[in-house]
Symmetry: C2
Subunit: 215 residues, 2 copies
Amino acid sequence: MADALTAKGRATRARLVAGAADVLREQGVAFTTLDDIRARTGTSKSQLFHYFPDGKDELLLAVAQFEADRVLEDQQPHLGQLDSWESWQQWRDVVVERYEQQGDQCPLGALFLQVGRSRPGARAIVTELMRQWQQQLADGIRALQANGLVSSALAVDRTAAALLAGIQGGVTVMMSTGDSTHLKAALDTGIEHLRSTVAPDAAPPISGTAAAAPH
Amino acid sequence: MADALTAKGRATRARLVAGAADVLREQGVAFTTLDDIRARTGTSKSQLFHYFPDGKDELLLAVAQFEADRVLEDQQPHLGQLDSWESWQQWRDVVVERYEQQGDQCPLGALFLQVGRSRPGARAIVTELMRQWQQQLADGIRALQANGLVSSALAVDRTAAALLAGIQGGVTVMMSTGDSTHLKAALDTGIEHLRSTVAPDAAPPISGTAAAAPH
DNA sequence: CGGAAAATGGACCGGCAAGTCCAGAAAGGG
DNA sequence: CCCTTTCTGGACTTGCCGGTCCATTTTCCG
């Protein structure tokens, strides 16, 4: 039997993935060797290949999945409850804070570029993450519509796609320039765009909440 | 004197950069060796190090600059003339086409991740590109304002930043999923956002030009 | 022409990092 | 308590790839 893992085995494997994720965040994929990971996690070469027989690629893939799982988790519970302007604003703040803290590391992007075309699994991980993310944003917009806060004529999926793109791009730019202006601009403009479509019947005035901050 | 390049020398150097750019687009930075580049460009190791004494990093940096220069060029002349809805639409189409054609290659992103933290120059190249790009978008929005097509109350720089983020993110997502939906959504939603702020005095009705295409 | 500077070819080196292997320690379970 | 399976340690191999070096050819310029 191929995967008969004891408790100790599972622990070692998990330590390997988490430790690898840390090292990769710090040094970047291109500059990280298996020996770095081995040293950090207090393991030996044989353990690494015992749990990841296909070597580095397989480990990297596991780390990618590990990181992908984190992304949406870190945005909860707000991302799952986008039914009022307040919750959108809180979510926005969490996103900004999370990525500002992450700084110029984009573990997932880097991993994807590295493993990308060699292993088909990498693409699947990112695609699935994007799908779920956009789904939750779309659900949030629909919740606003249900509450009469956003025009029901709005193209929900397209708007959610645009917002997701803005976030991704904001993060991309921040990684390059070290500045979160674009991320904030994308989020704020996206939310402002939602607010500007307020349904004609129940339309509370736009308070300065999201429209502040010139640049 | 360090940089006394003859005509022949300049040609070889240029061939090296252009050829390297091709190979890097095809194979990705991580999987490209100096020998690949040497083979493709019909040069020898000594030539490579003759023109790029600091080796691979220096060559990669030159390629990054080469690619960066292309990005804005490919969007001209539209990007420099964004003074009517038609020109915005044409520009949008060019951007979509350019990146759809590029497919899942992002030479600049990949180069940045590879050279990124080792050479400070890499960050400068990307930062400058973003600055110019956003500048031209902002100029375009101001041109619309001057023509009374967009409310003069709009925060130009923030909107331009959000639009740029949307483009970057759209490209990022397309690289991962192979699908340009998000890029189009970001561009169309961005333009729609501009249209929705039409100045109260001179406000021609919104024709279906940009608001078409559900998803 | 002729000498200097630039350009070119390609053999060679050295290090590094992925992956292999086997011996031995620790669990597990009947 | 013993035998099997899993887990661990670390030395070793192997190939690749960035970088060096020097001999040779070509170009430039007075």
